[in-house]
């Protein structure tokens, strides 16, 4: 029985919050304590680089759950507190304010933090921001309003960098994106989609320079100059750094939990320690559909692992076997991704218009993933085809005149 037990959750973002509510729903009768060092009532993260930045939206409009819901489900929110260490023998965590908390079951939903690359002068310069939490965005908004020239350099042409560039452009900034690789989104997508997004940003007036390795940020008061390895320089009032993340895995590694590109969990989201589970961005887990171990940074993975962890902790054996999905919104373009395209050996582009198309990734004729641009139908059908392991006629698929429902090989 869980009556007198305590479940402690470290990290109150998509994973931790959804877990806490799911645990209550699964019938956990004991205490649930949700701890996060962020002082803000837990909020949705994806809008931070989009609506929250661009529309100066209130965080109150982006809460994962209203405060009353925590009270109603008797979930203790312990915000503004950092966990210093876990004592797994005594099942106790120590907080940096000197207090401690006992647990019966511990859930690590620690996520990740923005990576700050070792660029000379980056720590000294003013108005340099990463973008991971609400406070970061509030800092960017304030610095933006205080800047006269509105010259912004975004370091890193990944999803965060590009979404931020689009939002700041809409606010009237002069935006330059500096990408280290030969194309934007190099690590996450095909050259075809990289080119589409590069053109989209160009058409909207954002300047993208590739093959730019930033080596130094020189600062003079509030003005910064971003210097690249090839000698080019970019004046900027504000620098946004979006070059990836580092997993918050130290609490886990300190107590000897298995680590491999994140905290290793089994299909029940359990770590190598019986009473410690881990969910969300911080986990390295097995994906059954692709027969591969992955670490995913997504809302879907956080929410779905949260539900699996809650069920297992309440004694309902459940396996995590979700099909991954993602999205990104830039300007009026909606990108929806289903599946994992890694290791694809061919792809088909289905063009239904200049701003409406989809890319279908295959390996040995098996559909792995779909990137859909302004094309929810392809996203939805792709989801169904992957789930049913449907055989697809690639010629028909490439022909936009053929209805997407008629591309299967019978």
């Amino acid at each position: 029985m869980s009556q007198n037990k305590t479940c402690v959750v470290i990290g109150a973002s998509h994973g931790g919050v959804n877990f806490a509510f799911a645990l209550r729903k699964e019938g956990w009768k004991g205490a649930i304590v949700l701890i996060d060092k962020d002082q803000t009532t837990p909020y949705h993260r994806p809008p931070l680089s989009k609506k929250y930045l661009e529309l100066e939206d209130s965080i109150q409009n982006n809460l994962l759950k209203p405060l009353e819901s925590y009270e109603k489900d008797n979930i203790t929110l312990s915000l503004g507190k950092e966990v210093a260490k876990i004592d797994k023998e005594n099942k106790t965590i120590s907080l940096s304010d000197g207090t401690s908390q006992k647990y019966d079951v511990l859930v690590l939903a620690t996520g990740a933090r923005a990576f700050v690359p070792p660029i000379s002068g980056i720590n000294k310069a003013k108005n340099v921001f990463t973008l991971r939490n609400a406070k970061d965005v509030e800092g960017i908004r304030t610095a933006f309003h205080n800047s006269k020239q509105k010259n912004i350099v975004v370091i890193g042409g990944g999803y965060i960098g590009l979404e931020t560039a689009a939002s700041l452009k809409k606010l009237g900034a002069n935006v330059t994106v500096l990408e280290r690789e030969e194309r934007i989104l190099a690590r996450v997508t095909t050259p075809y989609l990289s080119e589409f997004f590069a053109n989209l940003h160009k058409a909207n007036g954002v300047h993208i320079d590739v093959d730019k390795s930033v080596t130094e940020i020189q600062s003079d008061g509030n003005k910064n100059t971003v210097v690249c390895a090839d000698g080019t320089t970019y004046p900027s009032d504000l620098v946004v750094v979006g070059v990836g993340i580092r997993v918050n895995q130290e609490l886990a590694s300190d107590i000897g939990l298995e680590i491999n590109n994140g905290i290793v969990v089994n299909t029940a989201t359990q770590t190598s320690e019986k009473d410690i589970y881990a969910i969300g961005d911080c986990t390295f887990h097995y994906n059954k559909i692709y027969d591969v171990h992955v670490r995913l940074e997504s809302v879907q993975n956080a929410v779905d692992q949260a539900k699996v962890a809650a069920a297992n902790i309440c004694g309902k054996a459940t396996v995590y076997d979700a099909l991954p999905w993602f999205w990104s919104d830039q300007y009026d373009v909606k990108l929806q991704i289903v599946g994992l395209s890694q290791n694809f050996d061919s792809y088909v582009v289905r063009n239904e218009g200049a701003m409406k198309f989809s890319i279908w990734y295959f390996k040995n004729d098996r559909l792995l993933a779909v990137d859909a641009i302004n094309n929810a139908k392809s996203y939805v059908m792709g989801t169904k085809f992957i789930k049913t392991e449907a055989k697809i006629d690639k010629e028909k698929l490439a022909d936009a005149a053929v209805n997407i429902k008629d591309v299967l090989i019978n």
Binding site: V303, W327, Q336, M381
Partner: protein, 104 residues
């Protein structure tokens, strides 16, 4: 100001009031069971599926293109289906009744 009534899977009727934002936010902020809104209201997750009462369809209107396509992810989609993050709260929808579609 609009009054909106949700009917949850238990048959419970919950009437809430709002004057701005979208219907999904209103439901989440009032703890309406079965409306998750995982994507935060950008029509990406299909976790805010509702059936609009037949008589209220004129007030609410039909799903847009992306929304209608996303609804096809749901097994129980009908002519009265909407993703309620795509319904703006305004006086125009005062008095509508929405049945939460989530089954589990």
């Amino acid at each position: 100001m609009a009054k909106i009534t949700f009917i949850t899977k238990d048959g419970e009727k919950v009437t809430v009031e709002g004057d701005s934002g979208n219907v999904m936010q209103l439901a989440v902020n009032n703890g309406v069971e079965g409306i998750d809104g995982d994507c935060g209201g950008v029509c990406s997750c299909a976790t805010c599926h509702v059936f609009v009462a037949e008589n209220d369809m004129d007030k609410v209107g039909e799903a847009g293109e992306i929304e209608a396509d996303m609804l096809e992810l749901e097994d129980n989609v009908s002519d009265f289906s909407r993703l309620c993050c795509q319904i703006e709260v305004s006086e125009a929808i005062d008095g509508i009744e929405l049945t939460v579609a989530k089954e589990d």
